[in-house]
């Protein structure tokens, strides 16, 4: 972080207090007490003057007499609050009569506290210290939040840049390995082929990780732009189911789709939603035992429509449920065919579905596996 944090131990010396009173003697007394405490003091003899001095002095706290000729303390306070809004320094009213009504009016006008005349120096000092400390803590907190959001944005930018610059070389490594495996530079020996396939596999998983990191960075930075169009749920699923069936066949599995009589229509960014569909179906293939059947079920209600992916995997242990849709939330279940997992897939799914104002949830089917349900608002 570029700026050092303000000193966390609360040192209030040098804080600026604006004292406003039409009575010179009162100003002198209060000024004496406060200067002795190490504060910097500015004085004003009327509400009008207070507004002027406030602008140039930028106090951390205002002590404001209620009864003054010209505009009174309450009006002065309201004007200050209106002019400076959230940034306005706390105002403590000073009143000769500390009657309940006066006090209430003071709070209504935006005051944080009141002090009764004649002053008791210890009370004045204690109350002022409390309000200045509060104010300083609020400032520190704002500063911290500000620094953290800047650091977080910098992290996302860095992640995005990093992932972006890694993609090209990784694609080349993967592509060259694939071409060698296809005998593009001549026939390979068994050992050479094994090495080339290892290079291909490793660069392929790195590329996937980098792509997912880029997705997360894009989404986190608020740069996820959706190009939504009305799409039938079956239309949304078909291609992914078809492609996944080719992979699934390698594990003697198959994916079946259960349709409705009328295909419901939702409004989605087809590319982004395909990522969700692919991810859920691929997960089901990844974690289900060889030879099992995965079902993709279309569902619809009055307001929502979507699909469910039902697998035959180990289900989601209750103790791990909370990690499921979080970044890097890898669970204990292991892929059944040695596939890789980055722990980002479902987090990205959730972010994409939520960007569509939809929901994603998971249920365990006792003795069978898990069911992931995606619901999206119906298109009208």
């Amino acid at each position: 972080m570029d700026n050092p944090l303000p000193n966390p131990s609360i040192d209030l010396k040098g804080r600026r207090i604006l004292a406003v009173d039409d009575d010179r003697i009162n100003l002198k007394i209060i000024g004496g007490i406060l200067r002795h405490e190490g504060y910097e003091i500015a004085e004003a003899a009327s509400g009008e003057q207070a507004l002027e001095v406030y602008a140039s002095f930028q106090p951390n706290l205002v002590l404001l007499d209620v009864m003054m000729p010209g505009i009174d303390g309450f009006t002065t306070c309201r004007t200050l609050k209106r002019t400076y809004g959230d940034k306005c320094a706390p105002v403590i009213f000073v009143t000769a009569k500390s009657e309940a009504e006066d006090v209430v009016m003071g709070f209504d006008a935006g005051g944080v506290d009141y002090l009764a005349k004649p002053f008791r120096p210890k009370e004045v000092v204690a109350r002022i210290r409390t309000h200045l400390s509060n104010q300083q803590l609020v400032e520190q907190q704002k500063h911290l939040v500000d620094q953290l959001s800047k650091a977080n944005a910098a992290k996302d930018r860095f992640l995005g840049m990093c992932a972006h610059d890694l993609r090209n070389p990784l694609s080349s490594i993967r592509g060259l390995a694939e071409l060698m495996d296809e005998n593009a530079i001549g026939t390979l020996t068994d050992e050479q082929r094994e090495i080339v396939q290892t290079i291909h596999g490793a660069s392929q998983s790195m590329l996937q990780l980098v792509n997912e990191l880029l997705d997360v960075a894009t989404i986190e930075a608020g740069h996820l732009k959706l190009a939504k169009e009305p799409t039938g749920v079956v239309e949304m699923l078909e291609r992914s189911v078809h492609l996944a069936n080719i992979e699934a066949a390698k594990k003697s599995m198959r994916i079946e789709m259960v349709r409705l009589a009328n295909d419901p229509v939702v409004e989605v960014d087809r590319n982004k939603i395909r990522q969700v569909v692919d991810n859920l179906i691929n997960n089901a293939v990844k974690y289900s035992p060889r030879g099992s059947v995965i079902t993709v079920i279309v569902h619809a209600s009055e307001s929502h429509a979507g699909f469910a992916v039902r697998d035959n995997g180990p289900g989601i242990p209750e103790s791990e449920r909370h990690k499921l849709f979080k970044d890097y939330g890898r669970l204990s279940a292991q892929p059944t065919g040695g596939e890789k997992s980055t722990g980002l897939g479902l987090a990205i799914c959730r972010k994409i579905v939520e960007a569509h104002n939809g929901t994603i949830a998971v249920e365990n089917i006792p003795g069978r596996g898990a069911e992931f349900v995606v619901s999206l608002p119906i298109h009208r």
């Binding site: 993609r167 090209n168 080349s172 071409l179």
Partner: protein, 139 residues
């Protein structure tokens, strides 16, 4: 791939040129020229008149769009396929508006790249295959 013409490959990154040229050779393209920046690409284009140009979008100094503009000034009929690393819709639209025939994502699997190239060749050289006989290649 049914293509007897020559291709000029333009990318500032050597590994991309290596990958793409191996892929092109694997697909049966025998006459391949390479350039590592826009200025060289224009020189090579003027000297060799290749049938197709594969042009990187992101290059230092003279970028892909600028190079595309220059190539189109030299030869309004030149067939240019843009090479992108991320599908940046805006850049692609700009390239198409400037006369690019197609775009290919460099991070796509070789199979997909091959298919996109074949599509472009089918569209651009369908009726006048004779045009695809360019000058003699440099090995």
């Amino acid at each position: 791939m049914n293509f007897s013409g020559s291709i000029l490959l333009v990318d500032d990154e050597a590994h991309i040129r290596k990958f793409m040229s191996l892929l092109l050779r694997h697909l049966g393209v025998t006459r391949i020229f390479e350039a590592h920046n826009g200025a060289t690409a224009i020189e090579v284009y003027k000297a060799e008149r290749p049938d197709m140009v594969m042009l990187d979008v992101n290059m230092p100094q003279m970028d892909g769009l600028e190079t595309l503009r220059a190539l189109k000034t030299i030869d309004p009929d030149c067939v240019v396929v843009m090479l992108t690393s991320l599908a940046n819709r805006q850049t692609i639209d700009q390239a198409v508006a400037l006369g690019a025939a197609n775009y290919i994502r460099k991070d796509a699997p070789p199979e997909d790249i091959g298919r996109a190239l074949a599509d472009t060749i089918d569209t651009c050289f369908e009726s006048d295959e004779g045009d695809a006989d360019g000058p003699a290649p440099t090995p």
